[in-house]
């Protein structure tokens, strides 16, 4: 896949892998850097903090993937898996009880040898196997602390990888469904429309599902680039980015007002809580990642590669895994 950096009709910067989060794509005012006053203080602080973190990480990953723009996304994934494997083995070594892990793993290995040595005696073999299982639980127990420590950076990294490798942008001429979900459910009284349609064509009028508080449109991409679509509810407007092109990069499928979604979908700023729109989703298609002709989920590849790298380099770091 090739990344194409082209100028769209809307005049926006061509779609690529660089970040575009935080200060753009807000609600009514385009730059809602702070949540509205109706938010409790704590939530406001957290939201601001998360936006900053998201902005930093998205920039960082954009920069990291920049040299791979012209290449198949699998190379970027291999590269980041390699870095993550190294980082994680280092962190694991620092935060885990290495001596205890070494001891318990030695016992496990020793008892595995014991199974072979005393194979003529079933009772001894079963007793040894019992000890192996017990020691395995002990080993897993020693892994809890490093695992908890690693959850935080890994979650942020994986969210970024999800942003880059889970979905691909719409290709020109390709259609997708855009859904806007409102806070209010039941019979939707307001006038709801999709506007600012440069680069896309709306193929169907908005289909309302009152019970869900949802309106869906079928749109068709026309021109490559990053387009800002506007959902208008009454007098309020909320924007959603739409990516059109045949490359790969940060593709944000969801923009919402939820704090959790802000964590999991860091590509766009959250919708202000005062808005009537709860979330806007674009149903992009998955980014195909293939190795030697086999399609694999990016997470599987990341899992295998990062683990492999960790095991290969554990000796160099002097870490017992």
């Amino acid at each position: 896949m090739q990344i194409r950096r082209r100028k769209s009709k809307s005049g926006l910067k061509a779609w690529g892998t660089f970040p575009r989060v935080g200060v753009r794509g807000g609600g009514r005012s385009q730059t809602p850097t702070t949540p509205s006053d109706s938010h409790p203080t704590f939530e406001r602080v957290v939201t601001t903090l998360m936006k900053l973190v998201n902005w930093f990480l998205t920039s960082l990953f954009g920069l990291l993937f920049w040299p791979f723009q012209g290449l198949d996304p699998v190379w970027a994934l291999v590269f980041v898996s390699f870095l993550c494997g190294l980082l994680m083995v280092w962190v694991f070594g620092k935060v885990s009880n290495q001596e205890a892990i070494r001891r318990v793993k030695n016992k496990i290995r020793g008892n595995l040898l014991g199974v072979r040595l005393y194979q003529h005696d079933v009772r001894i073999v079963l007793r040894l196997q019992g000890r192996i299982l017990r020691d395995t639980l002990t080993y897993m127990n020693y892994s809890i602390i490093p695992m908890l420590v690693l959850i935080v950076p890994l979650l942020l990294i994986i969210v970024q990888l999800n942003l880059h490798f889970s979905l691909r942008p719409l290709e020109p001429g390709e259609s997708a469904v855009l859904k806007a979900r409102l806070i209010q459910t039941g019979v939707l009284q307001e006038n709801i429309s999709l506007e600012n349609l440069s680069g896309v064509k709306v193929e169907t009028p908005g289909v309302r599902i009152d019970s869900e508080g949802e309106v869906a449109w079928r749109i068709r991409a026309r021109q490559p680039g990053r387009h800002l679509l506007t959902v208008k509810v009454g007098e309020q407007t909320v924007e959603k980015e739409l990516y059109v092109g045949d490359g790969w990069g940060a593709v944000s499928a969801l923009r919402s007002n939820s704090l959790l979604d802000l964590l999991l979908y860091p590509g766009e700023a959250p919708i202000d809580a005062s808005e009537k729109v709860k979330s806007i989703t674009v149903q992009y298609r998955p980014l195909p990642i293939s190795i030697w002709g086999w399609n694999v989920h990016w997470m599987v590849l990341f899992f295998v590669l990062s683990i492999l790298v960790a095991f290969i380099f554990k000796g160099a770091f002097g870490v017992e895994l």
Binding site: C84, F92, G110, V115, H120, L148
Partner: protein
């Protein structure tokens, strides 16, 4: 408590995360992934092995039953446990039992049998334990002494094993890459009883029985002992780092490395084996630095990237060493350090570099994985044949306290192995030999005798009860083993020989020289390894700890004694003269008996035995200078070394002990009877060539 709370909290957090998953939380990276992958594979392998075990067990049981049907049908017991306490003396045992200090030995005696055990000729551990395992006299198993002469060079060689380098090598630049492994030749002949048991389907666990290196293949597991070299290929070479300029720098059994303390740091190196890959062999070394008072310890030892705290007068745990030979080849060993002194001088002792049992450079167990299994489940352990560093105490590099600590550390390792073996060997034989009884009596005997020459200038009070403590500790061990003994288990506790005082050394080569049997080139200078000897005029010489050899034509390279009549006459002459040997200073006879091995031994290897074996009276032994092939001015010398007790004397004076929880059929027990008894207990026929016989009532 706080830690527990923290663990509970983190555990609950973890559970919480698991209960509320979303897509991207499905995988949380190498942290969990690593634990998951490792654990998953372990569980998978475990389940697979369990399945395989259960699936194949009926077949293996059937095969085992068919193979060992006859033996197992006739077996009188399920298990035989033999605990060898090297050198435990019957007189001291009697004395302490009479004082009520050995309740478990007394109990064992009441359960079955206690008697003296006739040792081997000579009364030396390699010979005795070879007779123990084969049921044969030395004429059949070919182990005659610790050292035997090379008949070409006359130089002493190890009697039980020989290591030969690979003959074919690939030459690339400065490297010489061996094409093949070094050949380790087992010089002990005949067959061990555990090998015969194995042939009949009986499993055995053999731990640290002397003369089991290289390990032989049989049905069971074995950890080798005496003759296992250190990584340098010696029988144990310690290193001693000292900044004291006043200390001498030549030791027997070790090397001194002078060091300097500069700004609280000592920099030196660990001397390793010769690089086997280089054409011009050079010693491999590992640099280290010792930093005084670092990180709360008395000192800190930095080897590579690893740091090891040193506490004053404490041993470190085993420290792994990795010598890089080049071309990616690594030779692994391990050692312990003992910080003897920091001020005014830095003094650091390092044990001989042991072969690492987890990655052994030489085969030290059967199967090879057995030493790995022990190391991984119980921790690293001493693998050197002569594990306790008696020379370090002899040379006063270590004091008694440090030597005791080292010895008991090794003993604890051995105890763990024994109890693991008892637990794992539910049917079969378990044999374990403890050396602590031998080593401590060698080194602490002087405390039992006020007038021992070795007491001069040394402490005589602090460890007066050490040998008694030792016997009580062995009693405690026997008590714990007895807990595993049921009606179907036979327990034998035995020693290979007893112990007596070693006050005076006898230089047999000097005696031979003074009596005209050994000639020197000019005059005796005391030079080692027979450098003074004129072999073309020498008729007899002594090597080892009591063996005497005729310089026989056709056998020795420069032999001059004609086989036949001249040989017989010379032997009779030497025997008659030696029997008259008097220690004029003490006004006692030094020699109790002189044995002609042609009469004392039987078997195919008699011709390779020493021609005569000198049985010294109690208090006498071959002198230290004689053992190194030096001709001195005096035949007799005081033994002033800490090695103050010995057993290389007339065998009837140093019998061993024999305890068994069953009654036996005879009151005369020989060390050669133990193997045949074990065979008989499992219903296995005793081979006709065995000199020993079963002790069980028929």
């Amino acid at each position: 408590m706080r830690q527990r709370k923290f663990l509970i909290t983190t555990f609950l957090c973890f559970i919480g995360l698991l209960l509320f998953p979303s897509t991207v939380e499905a995988y949380i990276g190498p942290g969990a992934g690593i634990a998951f992958v490792s654990s998953f594979f372990i569980v998978l392998i475990t389940l697979f092995l369990a399945f395989l075990t259960l699936l194949t067990w009926p077949f293996r049981w059937a095969l085992q039953t068919i193979r060992g049907r006859r033996a197992l049908r006739k077996s009188r017991v399920r298990r035989v446990i033999i605990v060898g306490l090297d050198g435990q003396d019957p007189e001291l045992t009697d004395q302490f039992m009479a004082q009520g200090l050995l309740p478990n030995f007394t109990r064992l005696c009441q359960l079955g049998t206690y008697s003296r055990l006739q040792t081997s000729l000579p009364a030396e551990s390699p010979v005795a334990w070879s007779s123990f395992q084969t049921g044969c006299n030395p004429g059949r198993h070919k182990v005659f002494d610790f050292l035997v002469p090379n008949r070409k060079s006359y130089l002493p060689e190890l009697c039980s094993a020989r290591i030969e380098s690979p003959t074919r090598n690939l030459s690339i630049g400065r490297y010489r890459i061996p094409l093949g492994k070094p050949a380790i030749l087992f010089e002990r002949k005949s067959r061990s009883f555990w090998r015969i048991l194995g042939d009949h389907g009986v499993f055995s666990t053999i731990l640290r029985v002397p003369i089991t290196f290289p390990p032989e293949k049989f049905k069971g597991v074995l950890l080798s002992a005496m003759s296992v070299p250190d990584l340098k290929g010696t029988q144990g070479t310690f290193s001693y780092y000292s900044s004291d300029p006043g200390e001498r720098n030549k030791f027997t059994g070790g090397v001194q490395v002078p060091v300097e303390v500069s700004n609280g740091v000592v920099r030196s190196f660990i001397s390793g084996p010769e690089n086997p890959l280089l054409k011009n062999a050079e010693e491999m070394r590992i640099a280290f630095s010792a930093h005084m008072g670092e990180n709360g310890a008395d000192a800190e030892l930095n080897i590579g990237k690893k740091r090891h705290p040193l506490k004053l007068q404490e041993y470190t745990p085993w420290v792994s060493l990795e010598f890089r030979a080049g071309l990616g080849m690594k030779i692994r060993g391990m050692c312990r350090f003992y910080l003897k002194e920091i001020s005014p001088h830095f003094k650091l002792y390092m044990t001989p570099i042991n072969i690492d049992p987890e990655k052994p450079a030489l085969p030290i167990s059967h199967p090879t994985t057995y030493s790995m299994y022990l190391a991984k489940t119980q921790g690293e352990f001493c693998t050197l044949g002569l594990a306790e560093d008696t020379w370090a105490l002899n040379e006063r590099v270590l004091d008694e306290e440090a030597f005791l600590k080292q010895t008991y550390l090794i003993h604890e390792e051995r105890e763990r192995m024994l109890f693991d073996a008892i637990e794992k060997t539910r049917r079969g034989a378990v044999v374990c030999v403890f050396d602590i009884t031998d080593r401590l009596q060698h080194m602490f005997w002087r405390y039992l005798e006020q007038d021992h020459p070795a007491n001069a200038g040394k402490d005589v009070e602090n460890h007066r009860r050490e040998i008694q403590n030792l016997y009580q500790n062995m009693d405690d061990l026997v008590g714990r083993v007895l807990n595993y003994v049921d009606d179907e288990t036979v327990l034998i506790v035995m020693s290979d020989h007893g112990f007596k005082s070693f006050k005076r050394g006898v230089n047999l080569n000097t005696w031979l020289y003074q009596n005209g049997y050994l000639a020197v080139k000019d005059k005796p200078t005391g030079a080692e390894w027979f450098q003074d000897v004129d072999w073309s005029k020498t008729r007899a010489y002594a090597v080892g700890l009591g063996g005497m050899y005729l310089n026989l034509a056709g056998r020795e390279a420069k032999g001059i004694v004609a086989p036949g009549e001249e040989e017989r006459t010379l032997k009779q002459e030497i025997i008659a003269e030696l029997r008259k040997l008097q220690d004029e200073q003490r006004e006692t006879s030094a020699v109790g008996e002189v044995y002609d091995t042609r009469e004392s031994y039987e078997g195919p290897y008699v011709s390779e035995a020493p021609d005569l074996i000198v049985g010294f009276n109690v208090g006498y032994r071959t002198s230290w200078t004689c053992a190194t092939g030096a001709i001195t001015e005096e035949v007799f010398e005081d033994n002033v070394k800490s090695w103050s007790g010995d057993h290389c004397m007339n065998p009837p004076d140093v019998p061993g002990i024999f305890f068994c929880n069953r009654k036996i059929a005879t009151d005369k027990v020989s060390i050669m009877d133990i193997g045949p008894t074990a065979l008989d207990l499992f219903g296995v026929p005793v081979p006709a060539y065995c000199d020993g016989k079963s002790l069980l009532p028929s």
